[in-house]
């Protein structure tokens, strides 16, 4: 085992971490702010990929513009979903889990009926599909883009939540809905917007994952469970999700280096269960928060 291959594994781990993080970002916001277990998150990721595909294939929008466009489209879907269904279920967390699974079923089957089950591909500019070398380590350019977008989104969310009036309102509602409402904050509107924001983030993730993998109606399924684990381990906070994703990504890469990818995933899942045995509230849970 020489230094180069370890470095390679670490860099790969960072890339895996960024993928897990971007998949979990939207979930963190929706769970953290509204306490909704959104099982439709994978389907929203899938919708993001299909939005990018549609825009690129039928309208001819350049790929880089597809990313923000996916955000908008999926955010609108999220908005409709929140107004039409989720807003009636806020005090029934288990039912949000079930209802959103139903939504996922509908979205996946709907897309399958429209687009068929055959894989679609997103075309990216030539330069993205290349890779470059740092020392002896080969890095795919697109994975760097994913990392950059993830960092940008995290920064954006941080600014939104901690530097704007809207962010103060969201955090107030998170801490105590009734109290916030009695200070004149429209909690229902805050929930609606955070849900749309979370859905939009899933859309961005989807438009990126569509390039990393092929675009399929079921492509989102595999991300849901692991994204949830990141949120649960992180305790529902943004910082927690970031650290959980980083740690799991690196561990996954290191385990895979010694065994293989599937076995590494198994180890990660088991480690998470053991971790939650000792810290059921996750990494950074505030005292007295619902769990």
């Amino acid at each position: 085992m020489e230094f180069g291959s370890v470095l390679n594994a670490l860099i790969l781990g960072l890339s895996i971490a960024s993928i897990w993080l971007i998949a979990a970002l939207g979930l963190t916001i929706i769970y953290g702010a509204a306490g909704v277990i959104n099982m439709a998150h994978g389907a929203l990721i899938m919708l993001g990929a299909y939005s990018a595909y549609m825009l690129q294939h039928y309208v001819g929008v350049p790929y880089l513009l597809c990313i923000p466009a996916s955000f908008v489209i999926v955010a609108v879907v999220g908005l409709i979903l929140e107004r039409g269904l989720i807003q009636y279920l806020y005090n029934r967390p288990l039912d949000t889990l079930l209802a959103t699974y139903g939504v996922a079923l509908v979205l996946v089957q709907g897309v399958r009926l429209i687009f068929g089950s055959d894989p679609k591909y997103l075309a990216v500019p030539e330069i993205f599909s290349s890779s470059f070398m740092i020392g002896s380590v080969s890095i795919s350019t697109f994975r760097v883009i994913v990392l950059a977008v993830t960092a940008l989104l995290v920064f954006g969310i941080w600014v939104l939540f901690y530097k704007t009036r809207f962010g103060v309102q969201v955090r107030a509602v998170m801490q105590n809905k009734e109290m916030a409402a009695s200070f004149g904050i429209n909690a229902s509107r805050v929930y609606m917007l955070t849900f749309a924001l979370g859905a939009g983030l899933a859309g961005v993730a989807g438009s990126l994952f569509g390039v990393l993998n092929i675009v399929l109606p079921t492509m989102g399924d595999s991300y849901v469970v692991q994204a949830f684990l990141m949120v649960v381990v992180g305790g529902g906070s943004l910082a927690g999700t970031i650290i959980a994703s980083f740690a799991s990504g690196e561990l996954q890469s290191m385990f895979a280096f010694f065994t293989n990818d599937t076995f590494a995933r198994f180890l990660i899942f088991v480690l998470i269960v053991v971790f939650l045995r000792f810290k059921p509230q996750g990494l950074f849970a505030k005292a007295g928060v619902r769990r």
Partner: protein, 367 residues
């Protein structure tokens, strides 16, 4: 006269009628293939029953019932595979194909049919007991427990997929011949297979029903409604939760064994997340608070899937998803609660008609 729905005698009569109807089926049907298919619905009924027991009566939403089902199924498949190995040919082909020229320790207990069956049922139950104990002791509950069961399910799915030489990987295990118990062979394509499943479902349902009516069952229902209060009353909440979760896992393990007995096949697909969640959908639509409602939910949904779904699987699933959303939104206790409301309506009507009922009739415990 109160609501007939809560009347225990009426409930037992409904159960008897239901099983009598199921018992008539093999006498009326000659088609062995159809009987086999109907028997697999019985297995799904067992799974829905196990979910109803754990979720409807214990308040534990378990999205990973596929673990117990899958482990039971793998245990049974390994037992049946070993039955067809002879002295000259002691090693199953999946190992030889994967370059393994000895029988791994994992397979040793399954060389003998009796010990194989004990392990096939015991290991999933033991897993539920240990995993449940760990989780409930840490007071992981509600949606978080559901997520953790999903994580465990994914973990098992990946490990079974990965360990090809031991589990057959993605192709799974296909035992070449039906299950033999002693010198008796259970032909899955005959009424014998159907009757085995029928009696398993009958016994499991009666036992589950008795559990829900026992004082143990009443405590689990109290935990479902308010765990904190039950804890303050001095009950060991985690203990009760672990036991009901393990019983539910045991029933699912039986279902897994019977399923392999019927179809002679197992693969990681039985531990697929979607399959485990569909068990929850059966119980949710049928009515998780009603054992029989959940079983009927499984029959109707799986039946609909195979009869309507072959041609329009996507449309069917789209419809099912939409219907599921409506049920969760408007009928959180499933279609059984419609029956409950309907019988309640009749009860109030007859009450106003006679209006000489003694006031304050004592409330019946919920089913």
């Amino acid at each position: 006269m109160g609501n007939l729905y809560y009347n225990k005698t009426a409930q037992w009569i409904a159960y008897a009628a239901f099983f009598a109807a199921l018992a008539i089926i093999p006498m009326r049907i000659d088609d062995d293939f159809l009987l086999n298919q109907l028997a697999t619905y019985g297995v799904y009924g067992l799974l829905a029953l196990s979910i109803s027991l754990c979720w409807g009566f214990g308040g534990i939403l378990n999205l990973g019932q596929g673990i117990a089902f899958g482990l039971g199924a793998y245990g049974m498949a390994m037992t049946m595979q070993m039955q067809s190995q002879t002295v000259e040919n002691p090693i199953p082909p999946i190992m030889l194909n994967n370059g393994l020229d000895y029988l791994p320790y994992l397979w040793w207990p399954f060389q003998n049919t009796a010990s194989g069956l004990i392990f096939a049922l015991g290991i999933p139950t033991l897993f539920c007991a240990v995993f449940g104990r760990i989780m409930f002791k840490a007071r992981v509950s509600g949606a978080f427990f559901a997520i953790m069961t999903l994580a465990m399910l994914s973990a098992f799915y990946t490990i079974i997929l990965d360990q090809q030489a031991y589990t057959g990987g993605v192709n799974g295990i296909t035992p070449p011949s039906p299950l033999r118990l002693g010198s008796f062979e259970i032909d899955p394509y005959s009424s014998v297979g159907y009757w085995v499943v029928f009696f398993a479902l009958l016994i499991a349902t009666v036992v589950a029903k008795l559990i829900t009516q026992s004082s143990f069952g009443l405590v689990t229902q109290a935990i479902r409604d308010d765990a904190e209060r039950v804890r303050f009353l001095g009950y060991s909440v985690s203990g009760y939760e672990t036991v009901i979760y393990s019983i539910s896992g045991f029933i699912a393990a039986i279902a897994g064994c019977l399923w392999v007995m019927l179809v002679q096949y197992v693969s990681p697909a039985q531990l697929d997340v979607g399959f485990s969640i569909s068990m929850v959908i059966w119980a949710a639509i049928g009515g998780r608070m009603s054992l029989i409602g959940s079983i009927i939910g499984a029959f109707v949904i799986q039946g609909g899937q195979s009869y309507l779904g072959d041609a329009f699987l996507s449309t069917w699933l789209l419809f099912l998803g939409g219907f599921f959303i409506l049920v969760v939104r408007f009928l959180p206790n499933g279609l059984a609660s419609l029956v409950e409301a309907g019988l309640g309506l009749i009860a109030t009507k007859s009450k106003t008609a006679t209006s000489h009922e003694p006031n304050g009739a004592k409330p019946f415990p919920a089913e």
